[in-house]
Symmetry: C2
Subunit: 556 residues, 2 copies
């Protein structure tokens, strides 16, 4: 008999749950997991690099169907081979095992599952410094970002999903007495039972750039609603997922449940298993982050499952007029530099009228604006140590190559250059490439160019910028849209555009908030209404389709 | 300027809305619209047949794009041609008009839309007696059922959808102030605006047997969440939809909105328009009730839209043992007779062990049970007037033919016969056909046979019944499942089966509640988790995907 039942775990975390419920309904600032490294135990922070190294060149043990097949091959964008190996189960067998666990996990009930999920998150939070290093050496993010985005921010997003799940499940009464008057006759009376029943086996397909942040919402959304979850990480970023699954399995086991309710499925770029997994008819829920090509394929083929995707898009900014040119270009320089533009929220297309923009100091021409942005970016990246920290490393060689290939697509406003990291000389580090193109070159700037590649687009007017942006956003989608204008009419027009193309809008960001940042419990990440993503992290729609309600009624 | 603004309408109906919110969260008995004909003004009830006739052989005027094309051809299953004609707009033009109305209806906001929807429902309720006749003479339902299911019960289901919509929209704050502490520095402060943005143009495709009950949930769900709605009724049952659209247009107009926000699209069996409509890329939400063939086609092809379907299935009952054989067979006789089995909830497959069932009077053999059911049904339909009232008429000639074709599928336990309606001698009236087959004849009983056709299936044991039912339900789906047993273990096993195949279960119905009845605000109609329907009427999942949230943020 287990001492820590799921019900005990619910009680343990109920106060935090209640605070989180309040947060999703006000969407004011709230974060349960600190992004301040100093709030974590000093010895854990200190030992984290060694703890990470201890995981390298080792076999990573997890619960799962017996197998003799081992996978290895992660290489840090900072230039070292991780050498960690993982068991690769037979995928059909794995799905069968997961399917057999449905009744057990379903019967744990909403409270039990919320308790288990929140305990997992608490323990993941405790190991945040280590997770920071695991994320850094798979995604290539600078350490501070890898720690923040990969640990507390990812945990925030996970809890957000858990809480939306609780809210949705809790809105359905477990039982009801139905008492229908029949005039002078006795009433009809029935007892009804409503059970939250999961869809089936869930699969979460992760990406290499945000191995936890983009995996956790789907993982915890499926888990809390009763679906056993297979985590299928990107072959280049397995370790953060493996650490996560390990923690989940420990908590499940301690709570007297089968640890395999959360399992890991690893593969290689050469022999991918994702298609096999998602086309297994027992798989009923799929979360995917990655390329549009495969994401669209899943949406079009896995019709037996509920599919939640985050794919590529062309994030855009419309510049009309500014009240502080320096502040604006400084803000944009940071956006374009952070993690070398490898965020699904980084701006690629910046629309500026050929005739220039109004500033308090008078008209600034298109070329002057371009120059100001180039200067701000160069200056921001002037200190090499800070630059390396902000830029991080380029996750894949393909992205590094893409920078080279894109140089010829327009007139170079700022060229991309390589940098040498003081601690990791083999790290693949590149500064942003900024190109100048004409509004008519839509084929050039309307294709997603993943990485530190952006286009300054010369348009006929702000109205023309809006029109071009609408065309591109309708077709390609986006997660972020920005606008700079001192005119309320233009801001209103931008809001109308944002609603039309269903993209989140940021207006006049010129301080410490950046268009590519989204805060859990406040910002909705993606709308689910344009081609860049068919789901939003997280809202009710992200949760309610992962389960159905099965009722049973009988006379009293 | 309109006197009756949407906001005024919200205030007018707010008390009822609040009561309805309570109802969806307790799912106890509640019905806002009376099913008692006597509660309606006597003069309206009396004049209803004449009011209906006044609509026949007339052109039905509605707001819509100009057109010269007229459609007519509805024929009552009671044997008269309605002769009502309707304008048929160009479908591409209609969708364009609806698309242009999105901002107007979106900007009415959640409160305004709830107000408009509830006012429409109030006015539909006022005309319930007339609607009863319109539904009777299109669906073929007996008048009392046509009145109840077609008017108050349909209105209940509509309000249920409106309330789930309100609940979902209201859970998203309209604005938030985000105030993030920055240690000793000034906090980061942003104002955020969250707008409910509809997916696009919505289409609701109705069926001929429940022209309002199955149309209203999709219609009101899409409408309340901001999507202009095209109602595309079945060519055989246009009038109830046209009356509904007329009321909606009147309310919209009075509220200062474009009446075309709800529009009618009619077609004929010979030249259907549904494929064109659903494949129009501006159509983003589709509700469909009808055959599995076309429903599956929509699900597989209209990937640009959110699709909600109710299709065919094989509703089943497992008989293990009973405490009152007469009461059980009486209950089943009513279920099989009501509207000649033309309900999406009527039982088709009844599994009974070959070895018979336990009763307080001892073992009753399979054949004795079959005979008891046949006798109960014959007796129940003994009085011809009552029989005609309960049976109603067979909606389509195809269903009548199907009865004849199915006679050879098994041994006849009770043959179907024609009846003559006292008032409508040309009415197409048929009593139930009950056949006996072996559990091994799965091909025979596992195909949906729409109409008054059911199978008593001889199985090896109750366990075998469960196994066979699971196979059929997994493959074909169902909306209802019943079980009769005096054993708690068997009832538990049936609940496990219901959760496994995701079908609502009714246990031991032997009184005044029938397996084919589902009560709004309490019973979830379909689970959305099996092949019979991909959606549930109504739950949160039925609403939340009809809109997205678009945010706009800026520094304070």
């Amino acid at each position: 008999m287990s001492a820590v039942t799921p019900a005990v775990l619910f009680d343990r975390h109920e106060a935090l749950l209640n605070r989180a419920i309040e947060a999703i309904h006000t969407r004011e600032y709230w974060s349960p997991y600190s992004e301040n490294l100093k709030k974590y135990p000093e010895e854990l922070v200190k030992s984290a690099p060694e703890d990470f190294k201890a995981l390298c060149n080792q076999h990573f043990e997890l619960e799962g169907p017996a197998t003799t097949k081992k996978i290895t091959g992660e290489r840090s964008p900072y230039g070292l081979d991780l050498g960690t190996s993982y068991d690769q189960p037979d995928m059909g067998q794995l799905v069968d095992v997961m399917h057999s666990l449905i009744p057990q996990w379903r019967d744990a009930g909403p409270k039990g599952r919320v308790g288990v999920c929140m305990e997992i998150l608490q323990r993941l939070n405790d190991m945040s410094p280590l997770m920071g290093h695991a994320v850094m050496h798979t995604s290539g993010q600078g350490f501070m970002m890898a720690f923040q985005a990969g640990a507390p921010h990812a945990q925030d997003r996970a809890l957000e999903a858990v809480v939306y799940g609780w809210d949705a499940m809790n809105a359905v009464p477990a039982t009801a007495r139905w008492n229908k008057p029949q005039g002078k006759m006795d009433p009809l009376v029935m007892d009804k039972k409503f059970t939250i029943v999961p869809r089936g086996v869930a699969v979460v397909i992760g990406c290499s750039t945000f191995p936890t942040w983009n995996t956790y919402p789907g993982l915890f959304a499926s888990l809390v609603t009763g679906n056993p979850v297979i985590v299928k990480p990107h072959p280049a970023a397995i370790l953060p997922a493996a650490l996560t699954v390990k923690v989940a399995q420990e908590v499940l086991k301690e709570a007297g449940l089968d640890p395999q309710i959360v399992s890991l499925a690893v593969d290689t770029l050469e022999e991918p298993v994702a298609k096999d997994l998602v086309m297994n008819p027992k798989v009923k829920v799929i979360d995917y982050t990655g390329s549009s090509v495969f994401g669209n394929w899943i949406e079009q083929n896995a019709l037996h499952a509920k599919v939640f995707t985050e794919k590529a898009g062309v994030n855009s900014i419309i510049v009309d007029s500014v009240s502080d040119l320096k502040a604006v270009t400084r803000n944009l320089a940071f956006t374009l530099s952070l993690y070398s533009g490898q965020m699904c929220t980084t701006t690629q297309a910046i629309y500026v009228p050929k005739s220039g923009i109004d500033t308090p100091e008078g008209k600034v021409s298109f070329d002057e604006f371009a120059q100001a942005l180039a200067t701000a970016t160069s200056k921001f990246l002037g200190d090499n140590d800070r630059a390396c920290m902000v830029l991080g490393a380029i996750q894949s060689e393909a992205t590094a190559k893409r920078i080279d290939e894109c140089r010829s697509l327009g007139e170079i406003v700022l060229d991309s250059e390589s940098r040498i990291h003081a601690q990791f000389p083999d790290a693949r580090i590149r500064t942003p490439l900024i190109l100048k193109v004409d509004g008519k070159d839509q084929a050039t700037y309307s294709e997603e160019r993943f990485g530190p590649i952006s286009f300054l687009i010369a348009t006929e007017s702000t109205e023309d910028s809006m029109r071009l942006a609408k065309e591109v956003l309708d077709e390609q989608g986006a997660i972020t849209l920005g606008v700079y204008s001192t005119s309320d009419a233009v801001l209103d027009q931008a809001e109308e555009l944002a609603m039309d193309v269903k993209v989140a809008l940021s207006c006049n960001l010129d301080g410490g908030v950046f268009v590519n940042q989204s805060a859990a419990f406040s910002d909705f990440h993606a709308t689910g209404g344009n081609p860049a993503a068919n789901a939003c992290l997280s809202d009710a729609a992200f949760l309610v389709n992962r389960f159905v309600v099965v009722q049973s009624r009988r006379h009293v």
